[in-house]
Each structure stands twice: as C-alpha cells, then as structure tokens.
Symmetry: C2
Subunit: 325 residues, 2 copies
C-alpha cells in the first residue's frame, strides 16, 4: 500500500510527462499553464488510492486518473470564463492572460485530452469506466447550469441546493474513486460503496466550504471571508436563514440582500453573519456536514477489504474536511 | 445496399429519437435547437455508407455516426461564439438567442453527448474507434486554432493553408468513413483507403468553397458572394494571388487588403476578382481541387469490394463538390 504522499508524488511526476508543448502553441500552451498552477491533485489521488485497495499495481490506473484531473481543470477553465473570474490560485486566468476565444478552444481540446487519457483504461474495463466518466462529465455541466439558474431564481430549497452541489462537486470525487476501484479489480458493490463514499465526502466538503466562507480564517481558507454573502449566493446557510427568519430578521436580511453597495461590504457581512448566528443556521449546516461525513465513513466501512488498508483513505477524507481545491 | 436517400432518412429518424428535452432545460434546450436547424447530415451518411460497403447491418454504426454529427454541430456552436456569428442557416446562433455562457456550457455537454454516442460502438471496435474520434476531435480544434492564427499572420503559404483545411474540415469526413468501415468489419487497409477518400474529398470541397465565394451563384451558394474577399481571408486564391502578383497588381491588391470601408465593398470584390482573373488563380485552385478529387476517386477504387457497390458513395462525392454544410 502506498501512502498519500507517495501517490501524490507519482501523480505529479506522471502529469509532468504529458507533453503540452505542441503545435499550434496558441491552443496547447494554456493547457500547460493551467496544469502548472498546481492544486492538490485530490481527484487522481482518490482514484489511485481506490485502485490500491484492490491491487498493488497502480500503473493501469494512472492515465485515467490524470484524465480526471485534466477534466477537472478544464471545468475550472471554462467556469472562469462564465464567472468572469480574473484570478485563480493567485495567477491570471486563461481568458484574462490570453482571451475568451483561446479559453474556449483550449478548454475544448483539454476536454478531448481528458477523454484520451481515460481511454487508456485497460480494454477489459474501458466501457464501464468510459460510461461513468461521460455520465459524470455531463452531470458536472448540469450542476454548473443549476448553479447559474439558482442565481436568478427567487427561491431555492435545501434539497435542490444539495442536488446542485452533488452534481457540481461530489460526482467527480465518486467517479475518481470508482474508476480506480474498477481498474484495480474491485467488484461492483465495493466500487459502488467507494463511489458513494466520494459523493458523501463531496457533499460534506461543500457544506464545510459554505461554513468557512462565513466562519473561516482568511489565511487558511485562501479566499476572502464573506464572498458568498456579498454576492448573495444561495448557500446552505442563506437558504436556511431565509426559511427560518421571522419579523425584523426577515426585513433586515432582505434589506441586506438588496444592498450591493461596495462601501457597505463589511457592514453587510457582519449583519448577515449576526442574523445567521441568531437563527442558528451554523449548527444546521454543521449537523448536515457531519451527517454526510458519517455516511461517507459508513460507505468506506462497507468495502470488503482489511480495515487497516483503509487508513490512508480515511486520513484523506479527514484532510478534505479542511480544504479541497 | 441502401441508397443515400434511405440512409439520410434513417439518420433523420434516429437523430429525432435522442431526447434533449431534459433538465436543466437551460443546458439541453440549445442542443435540441442546434440539431433541429437541419443540415445535410453528410458525415453520418458517409459513416453509414462506409459501413454498408462491408455489412448489411447498419444498426451498430448508427449511434457512433450520430455522435460524429453531434460533434460537428458542437464545433459550429463554439465556432459561432468565437467568430461572433449571429446567424446560422437563417436562424439566430445559440449565443445570440441565449447568451455566451449558455453557448459555452451547452457546447461542452454536447461534446460529452457526442462521446456518449461514439461509446455505443460495439465493444470489439470501441478502442480504435474511440482513439480515432479523439484524435480527429483534437485535430479539428488545431485546425480552428490555425485558422485564427492565420488571420493575424502576414504570410501563409499554400501548404500551410491546405494543412489547416485538412484539420478543420477534412479529418472529420475521414473519421466518419473509417468509423463506419471498421464497425462494418472492414480490414485496416480498406478502412484507411476510405479515410483517405474522406480527406481528399474534404480538401477538394474546401477549395470548391473558396472558388464559390468568388465565382459562385449567390442563390445556390447560400452565402453572399465575396465574403472571403471582404474579410481578407487568406484563401487558396488570395495566397496564390499574393505570390504571383507583380508591379501594379501588387500595389492594387495590397491597397484593397487595407481598405475596410463598407461603402466600397462591391468595388473591393470587383477589383480583387479582376486581379484574380488577371493572375489566373482560379484555374490554379480548380486544378488543385481536381487533383484532390482524383485522388479521392483513386482511394475509393482501391477499396477491395465490388465496384458496383461504390456507386452511391461516388454519387455523394460528386454532390459534395457542389455543396456541403
């Protein structure tokens, strides 16, 4: 069994072997740029760790795992165009450094590159792995669309929100785990339990992210605190606050939602946070997060391999509850 | 053996069976819209005709053929954003009818849908068909990038131009034919001859398109005559004109290339056309077109099946020399 560090090193060195220094430069250079920005490579790590539960030979799972990482970075590239985000991981985004057309077309070929890597799955597993990958890829687009739709909708309920983050974030973790498991030789039931483990970890993580946006520490969170509040993002916290607020809280919350004055940003963050505190939505969100985390741990317990061999994956799950990229 | 009409009917009815009426509507509705715009479905027709050369059973080739058509329409969708084209086939383009973000994201999921259809290739042919499809898809992006690069480059030679149109247009015809042939049970050599047939037909067609832009009839061409001249597109005609022009022709040609005055559009088209006529670039282009067309016919002759059975494909090749979508 390899440790997470060993697996991350393997991913880093294998990813570096892919040649993006190809012609036409204008098409491939942005891909090299995006992938050089780093990130924790959590998805390919999950994939190889899942493979490692069933096989000592990780090699057949490496390229498909990199395909999942390339796909993830492709979604960030195209999402950044759609969100008009100028900075990612402290560096200018592709559409900012080059232009929108470059970001669109390089993204397109990046998606194809992801498929080419996934297609390196050993042929006996190719069809189920490919189908899972395509299903997941489509779901991620669906999640992104719901995220966009929710911005302009008046009301979004908690169930709809959880389904959106399942699609946008959780399914790729599940896909990474199941892909590695299948290539490692897992049976369908174990592979499915690992998929569900990924889904539940993903949901728990996203709720953690919602909490950190309000209650986190700017230095470790890596983003400005209150970003979700300032853009009125319908997070798990806001959805519940809108449901629970009564009397003056409703009036005040709605007043702040209609206030987009940049000069009152700090006041808005403080006011909305204090409404959240009064309504107790923090603990509602924490409870739900722990619910999904426990489900994930139960999914992992159901995988029929030695408990000892699951320790690295349990450690990673715990780490994930702090930050994911 | 099925006729082209029978094959086109089969494609139309099978394409209509795909359900794009899915949630979220904002993601899938534009795909249904794009595919409802029509088009001659030449790529899936080539694929099924190639299959039909080797097998009476077209069914296993239908979904992959539709995948190629969906992919083709995806490239049009994203190209239209990049080219800021407002109209396609007489109707508003997706980014115009909806917006850029919708066009980007629906395009992304359309590419995934194309892969899902190609993944329905019978498993014994899946790996080579999938690899060919991905290679082709990447090449089309490369062709698009070269096309963009050429716009801002001072000089492009004929060889570079032919390579660009091979990537941007011809390889998908080759891919469609080879995919159908492989699924139909063709050997590698016959499948490769059909691929090359597609490449050469594609190159001949694009040169025909360059000619029609200047010398065509607006009614049958379906586009305004002189469009390439007005946007200074480095077509096979212009590339040769720039190479051959001497003395006052050079001065006049460069003068018109620098003249973007909309009020002098008709004058520019007439002047550049008459320079083309003086330099004889029309026949240079026609000769090259016939050269590729003859090569295509020779490729088809090399396919080891009854000559009689190739007639429908020869007819389609001839039709293609008039128009393609």
């Amino acid at each position: 069994m390899k440790t997470l560090d060993e697996i991350t090193q393997l991913i880093t060195s294998e990813l570096a072997k892919i040649n993006w220094n190809k012609e036409p430069r204008g098409l491939y250079e942005p891909i090299g740029y995006v992938l050089s920005m780093g990130g924790k490579r959590i998805r390919p790590a999950l994939s190889l760790m899942a493979c490692n539960l069933f096989s000592e030979n990780l090699q057949p799972a490496v390229l498909p795992a990199l395909g999942i990482e390339v796909f993830h970075n492709f979604t960030l590239l195209h999402d950044d165009i759609m969100d008009r985000a100028d900075v990612r991981r402290g560096r200018p985004t592709v559409h900012k450094k080059w232009n929108d057309n470059t970001a669109i077309l390089s993204g397109d070929v990046m998606q194809i590159s992801a498929y080419q890597l996934v297609a390196e799955t050993p042929v006996e597993h190719l069809k189920p792995v490919l189908d899972l990958f395509s299903k997941t890829a489509a779901e991620i687009c669906e999640g992104q669309q719901y995220d966009v739709d929710f911005e302009i909708r008046d009301e979004v309920n908690a169930e709809e929100y959880l389904e959106m983050i399942r699609l946008k974030t959780a399914v790729l973790l599940g896909c990474a785990l199941k892909t590695g498991a299948l290539i490692g030789g897992a049976g369908e039931e174990d592979a499915q339990n690992l998929y569900d483990f990924g889904i539940n970890i993903g949901l728990a993580f996203q709720l953690k992210d919602d909490l950190l946006d309000v209650y986190g520490d700017e230095a470790t969170f890596g983003k400005k605190i209150g970003g979700d509040i300032l853009c009125n993002k319908k997070t798990y916290l806001l959805i519940h606050a809108l449901q629970l607020a009564k009397g003056t809280d409703v009036i005040e919350l709605k007043k702040w939602l209609n206030n987009c004055d940049q000069n009152q940003a700090l006041e808005k963050i403080a006011a909305v946070t204090s409404i959240y505190n009064r309504l107790g939505v923090k603990s509602i969100c924490e409870d739900k997060m722990h619910y999904f985390y426990s489900k994930a741990i139960a999914n992992l317990a159901n995988v029929r391999i030695l408990e000892n061999n699951k320790q690295e994956l349990r450690n990673l799950a715990e780490k994930l509850m702090f930050r994911i990229d």
